[in-house]
């Protein structure tokens, strides 16, 4: 499940610096609004795994938030990290956050990575976090992996997003958002839905589009909430 080989020193150093930044920024940020909070409550006590689902560029604060709100309370979570060097750093960070990490991506050895996520959920009863426009985009376009995982496991997809009033926008394919210290965060958790096991191809495509639209609506809603002055 986890990678046995020790990552190179550069990756470990970069992950450590990111971890420190994540902790510092996360602790100084405050939650301005949290819509759909009740949908996250008690997840760690629930036997039914869920598929936490958010856009790739929302990964920074959610890494801090999910660790604090769920993993620390015993929530079992598995994530996939790409086979690239960035993915290696992400894998180290994920483990530091207490998540189980599988390596793979949609572009290289994707089915092996997806299969590991499937096994984590179906056989080990672990929830998973999935970034449906990762690992290489296009940004805000959901791929089919999350739909298939829900279909095969019966687990509900929990769409979520956040925005902040002050942030750095990184010029990467995903337009990564890094909250500035002491930023105010607006979070929203969408309605959970599961994909039927017997869904046909056209229904699977409808689900994919529905998840994409749901995540984009949550993005727009939290963007608007973050800009409101209290």
């Amino acid at each position: 499940m986890t990678e046995a080989a020790k990552p190179p020193f550069k990756s470990r150093l970069a992950a450590m610096l990111l971890w420190l930044a994540l902790k510092f920024i996360g602790r100084t940020c405050s939650i301005r609004s949290f819509k759909g909070k009740e949908r996250m409550e008690g997840l760690e006590k629930n036997d039914q795994p869920v598929l936490l689902c958010y856009w790739h560029n929302r990964i920074f604060f959610f890494a801090y938030f999910v660790e604090k709100a769920l993993i620390r309370k015993g929530f079992k979570l598995t994530m996939m990290s790409s086979l690239s060097k960035d993915g290696e750093i992400g894998a180290i960070l994920g483990k530091k956050c207490g998540a189980l990490v599988v390596r793979g991506s949609s572009s290289r050895q994707g089915s092996k990575g997806l299969r590991s996520l499937y096994r984590a959920t179906a056989k080990e009863n672990s929830s998973i976090v999935i970034l449906p426009d990762g690992s290489q985009g296009p940004v805000y376009e959901a791929k089919m992996g999350v739909v298939v995982l829900s279909q095969l496991t019966g687990c509900p997809i929990l769409p979520m997003s956040y925005s902040v009033d002050r942030y750095w926008a990184i010029k990467s394919w995903d337009r990564m958002i890094i909250p500035k210290p002491f930023a105010k965060v607006s979070i929203e958790i969408g309605k959970p839905t599961a994909v039927q096991r017997d869904a046909r191809d056209e229904e699977m495509e409808s689900e994919r589009v529905r998840i994409q639209n749901s995540l984009n609506e949550l993005r727009d809603s939290t963007d608007a909430a973050a800009k409101v002055n209290p």
Binding site: S106, G110, S111, K112, G113, L114, R115, Y118, K143, M144, G145, V147, V148, L149, Q151, L152, D201
Partner: protein
């Protein structure tokens, strides 16, 4: 054709949306049938569920054609 081969072909054909009769041993899963990563996961889970034989990642990686899938089950 054995019952098992027929079951395998039915699973592949259902997933790929192709007639079972049109599937040849040399038919490539990715290039000819468009089986991408999510479809590959569906295929492996369906095959395991239908035929009750677990497929390791290493064995799955070797399955490039319909013939490879059939050969895997013939070896079991």
């Amino acid at each position: 054709m054995s019952d098992r081969n027929e079951e395998v072909l039915n699973v592949i054909s259902k997933l790929a949306g192709a007639e079972a009769a049109s599937l040849k041993p040399e038919t490539e899963l990715v290039a000819d049938l468009g089986i991408d990563s999510p479809k590959a996961l569906q295929l492996l889970v369906e095959l395991e569920d239908e035929l009750g034989v677990e497929i390791s990642d290493e064995e799955a990686a070797k399955m490039e054609t319909v013939g490879d899938v059939l050969a895997f089950y013939e070896g079991k």
